[in-house]
Subunit: 328 residues, 2 copies
């Protein structure tokens, strides 16, 4: 390992845990740690973050040279937040922080440049710099899991919009008469194609009497049906599971067709747990896209699986440090 | 008038007519001409365009100084086209041109820089430089007429996407089970809120027996119902006309909510004939927006009526000449 190389600490702050890791300038992650998020108050929340960073610094095999090669800290935090100032505004799932200057507080402790952004934006940047989006000028990235987050990268920079609240692609509605999303809107792609939406649609069919092995995979409990269970049943050849995933792929096609018609990015990248389940349907999405897109060259836009998995937040945090050095 | 000032010729090429005008560097249009578009073959199509430009040059009151102050020609042409090379690819409503180097052919005649782009992009740039979008860094513009075109401007430059086919906002679907659009997709905002869509929805209600004065305004002919007729009936107090326009405003709100959630622009501008009809409902769209947008500050984004009307194509063409001088 070359110690002249720069390293970054990437931190992923969630509602229940903090993950941190050391990331080199090629996007390789080493020395990952995961600690619980303690969010009783603002100070405890900050202490949970700094102790995760501390755990990376104090890794037994971290030489002084490697330590001194760390040139920045980047943090994925729950929004809404101000990416310019690093202030966390009022995250619903981390109520301990209200207008909390997270970047400034961490910078005080480590005397390093600190960047803060939301997970969709940060993970999109990591994919653009080091992952599936490498070499493409404009990248649309979405992570399909419990929710659907997204990020837009133009020329190595995050597209933030007016106040940093852009790229909420998961809350674009493709059905104004559709199911209600957690956000209050109707027919958001998150309400149709996220992990919980996949599980809900399968459960509804089963509750309506559709025979399927999904229920056995869930131990006989309708409540036990998750998108992972649907995926298991699909791999075991269950027709209903296939139908539910195919329908999900159709919803994603409508949505991606809209994205292409508005943004015509150079590449589209899907990450997150539910996206892995849906990977067998990527070809189908590509085939179906021209029906849901006026762009006659839409099929020339690659649809790729994300490079980073559960560690996307750590990579994303680290990527934010490299955005700092980009030219305006 | 200062003759040291630069002027541009803006040209708007449609399927049936060519409009051209002289535009000063403040976006003021003088000496407009309108001539028929002759599109029997590529050469005749080009001749129709150059004769429209010629008509501007030969305006009786155009002094030699003013003529020599013309520093560029910009053309709005039907897409698909390549805005980088000025080649018109294969426009459905101008089949005379197939991979036709429109910019290069005009430049040969006038020995001036020539820019070509589609009307949505060009009109968006004119609004951003000189119209309702002046002073805003990011502008989302849409023109609601026979179709719905759009344009996105970031820092005075048109956002083109991968091949120049981005900003087809009119073909974003908000209802994947909705009415079929001319483009083939279902539930495009164009199929729900364009002028013909407004007329169609009113006609359907009347055909179903809904009493309304719309029919009288249309001379008793269901076929005679247009969005303008619906607008007339609304202004005369017709309840069905009001309902149809209100429903249109709701569709536009869903769509603009999606635009804000993805792009969070600094300003949104609506132009075109049907947008004028809908101006009494702009306040309603603003009030309804938070229901269709996760962005908590969506109401801080101004929703404005376009500055340019039927002359948006001429202004847009001229604006393209100023984009040339922008820094990359």
């Amino acid at each position: 390992m070359q110690f002249s190389e720069t390293h970054f600490v990437g931190v992923d702050v969630g509602g229940t845990k903090v993950a941190a890791g050391l990331v080199d300038s090629g996007g390789r992650i080493t020395r990952q740690t995961r600690t619980p998020m303690v969010a009783t108050d603002a100070v405890a929340g900050l202490a949970a973050v700094t102790s995760a960073i501390e755990a990376v610094y104090s890794a037994a095999d971290l030489s002084p040279q490697l330590k001194s090669s760390i040139s920045g800290i980047g943090v994925c935090a729950p929004g809404p937040l101000n990416p310019q100032t690093g202030v966390v505004i009022n995250p619903p799932n981390l109520p301990c922080w209200r207008n909390f200057p997270l970047a400034a507080e961490i910078a005080k402790v480590y005397r390093l440049p600190v960047r803060v952004d939301n997970d969709g934006n940060a993970a999109a940047l990591a994919e653009a710099l080091w992952g599936a989006g490498r070499g493409y000028r404009s990248v649309f990235y979405a992570t399909i899991g419990t929710g659907i987050g997204s990020g837009i990268i133009f020329d190595g920079r995050i597209y933030h919009g007016r106040t940093g609240a852009a790229a909420e692609g998961g809350h674009m509605s493709i059905d104004y008469r559709g199911p209600r999303c957690g956000c209050g809107k109707l027919g958001c792609i998150e309400a149709l194609a996220s992990g919980p939406a996949i599980a809900r649609r399968a459960s509804e069919q089963i509750a309506a009497g559709r025979p399927s092995s999904i229920l056995q995979h869930a131990g006989g409990q309708v409540d036990g049906i998750s998108s992972e269970i649907v995926g298991q049943a699909y791999r075991a050849g269950d027709p209903l599971a296939k139908e539910v995933l195919q329908e999900t792929a159709m919803y994603l096609t409508v949505w991606l067709g809209n994205i292409v018609d508005l943004l015509e990015p150079d590449v589209m990248i899907l990450g997150g747990g539910a996206a892995s389940l849906l990977q067998p349907f990527f070809e189908e999405i590509r085939d179906l896209l021209p029906r849901w897109c006026v762009n006659s060259r839409c099929q020339d836009i690659p649809l790729l699986a994300a490079h980073y998995g559960a560690d996307a937040g750590i990579a994303g945090g680290a990527a934010l440090c490299l955005e700092v050095t980009a030219t305006e």
